[in-house]
Assembly symmetry: C2
Homo-oligomer: 108 residues x 2
């Protein structure tokens, strides 16, 4: 899951999830790995990029349509994770749904 | 600069910059701080979120228009940084320009 996602030509969608964790793990690490696995199996999934440091985490997932994002939002296992996110894992988060209009890649 | 950006109601724009560094600093740390300072002073700048771990960095900056993004792209000091990015600092990057259509915040 690490590294830069190989996405197709725009337009496509990006879900930018910026978050700050509570203290302690409480099953978070295991869930995070499982959610990436599950998301990757969803129709319309294009890729994911995820980074966390001591202060902030950013996960950007890429999708081919708003419908695909909506289906993933309603996935049962994901819904359980969303609930635990609000009650246990996250202090704060922002979730932004955006349409990628242009992109540009560089490889040394 | 750390933390979650307080952005206004959508629509607005997000520039998602995902990157992998070369080994060594070569003035990167100092430049990164300076670029955030400079970007913050640009017209149309709405906020920035930035995280790096050993494998990947993601910086998302938010802007009120495509024009504001274009002006920042053409800023002289930023252009110098962009050049050094390609010759010295980055192994790979993806830069994606997206329009935020919806957002959702949570605070515990």
């Amino acid at each position: 899951m690490s590294g830069i996602a190989k996405t197709p030509k725009p337009p496509y969608y990006a879900v930018i999830f910026s978050n700050q964790r509570t203290e302690g793990d409480y099953g978070y690490g295991k869930m995070a790995v499982k959610m990436v696995e599950l998301a990757s199996q969803q129709q319309g999934f294009l890729g994911v990029e995820s980074v966390r440091d001591d202060e902030l985490g950013i996960t950007v997932s890429y999708w081919d349509s708003l419908d695909a994002i909506q289906c993933w939002k309603e996935n049962t296992a994901h819904k359980i994770a969303q609930d635990k996110g609000k009650t246990e894992w996250y202090k704060n988060f922002a979730l932004r749904i955006s349409k990628v209009e242009r992109d540009n890649y560089f490889e040394m």
